[in-house]
């Protein structure tokens, strides 16, 4: 078991959930499959899904919901 951090592919505003009244995409302990959506980054009026490129178990978000992120900034931890 190794814990890896996954980085933001682009700058913008990071969201944990698809809408304010929805639960977060992942909660600690959830299984993550390749292609799963872990969050959304909003920039230039576009919401880009952050898709998992590796499978594992979701540990935690490293950025608060609706916080500003820079490209390359660690977004969440994954146990692989």
């Amino acid at each position: 078991m190794a814990t890896t951090t996954v980085q933001a592919p682009l700058p913008g505003t990071f969201y944990h959930r698809s809408a304010p009244d929805q639960p977060p995409f992942k909660a600690p302990g959830d299984a993550v499959a390749i292609g799963d959506t872990l969050g959304l980054i909003e920039v230039m009026k576009t919401f880009t899904p952050v898709a998992a490129e590796a499978a594992g178990r979701f540990v935690r978000f490293l950025v608060d919901d609706a916080d500003a992120v820079m490209a390359g900034q660690p977004l969440y931890e994954l146990e692989t």
Binding site: Q7, A8, P9, L10, P11, G12, T13, E42, V43, M44, K45, T46, T48, A68, M70, A71, G72
Partner: protein, 325 residues
Amino acid sequence: MAIEVMKPGLSTTVQDLGRPGYYHLGIPLSGAMDRAALRAANLLVGNDEGAAALEAVFLGPELRFTADALVTVTGADLPPKLDGQPQPGWTAFRVRAGQVLSFGFLRQGARAYVAVAGGIDVPAVLGSRSTYVLGALGGLDGRALRAGDMLPLGVPPRDVAKGRTVPEALRRPAATPAELRVLPGLYWHRLTASAQASFFADTWKVAPEADRIGYRFRGGRALDFVPREQPFGAGSDPSNIVDSGYPYGSVQVPGGTEPIVLHRDAVSGGGYFMLGTVISADMDLIGQMQPHTPTRFVEVDMSAALAARDERAARLQQVRYALQT
């Protein structure tokens, strides 16, 4: 000779130096948001400065070349990789048929320019190959690239060597916090003295929705207007005026809350007052600003604006000299 788009990136478009001359008809300038970076990219691969290249914002595309080509990436620090091997930015490198150009995470700036010897040979529309997405004009079918697109390449106008590079000192740094110089304009008198002062005193931040049409800023104090009876034809909000032409670079503040600097794909007119314009020498800098970048507006007069324009022209001349063939 062509490039196959494997992944398009966030919004990658074909851009050249733009489509001036039709703004009075509502067709904007378009063209590269960072014109200096586009010129340098074209010079590096032996193209004319105004050849069409790709503008990639925040997230790079993945491109497969069907023929050998000379390529360069300038502008933002979006690290290019050829078949996974890192390549230097601001430098011409050779790509072999079948190789894939991809990009690492953005490190600095916002927009990278990918120039290929021969240029991107889409049809010119009203004298330009630039993409105006809102008007579905120019570029590749008037839109951003999609996976599966094939981009035609032109014939290189001259042969240049690989490995040529723009000296570090001539690559414009992306300053953080950014400072944008503003020349107060025709409607400056609409603001109260305290609003005029706070606009320049406050630190603003680039809003995430900032794009090729305009860069929106927030975080500064709201601006107050000098009371008046709105003239016939103007809207009821104190930030409204009788409709007027919007210059490239003009700063409007709808409702007095969030300044918007109009950029290459802006609308050409409307009913918001403009407090002034960002000077032409600083417009490229805006094209390299990421969301949330702290920004200050700095007041300048006409002579300072013209001096800055001369300085920018001299810098471009140095780039031309460094890359002359």
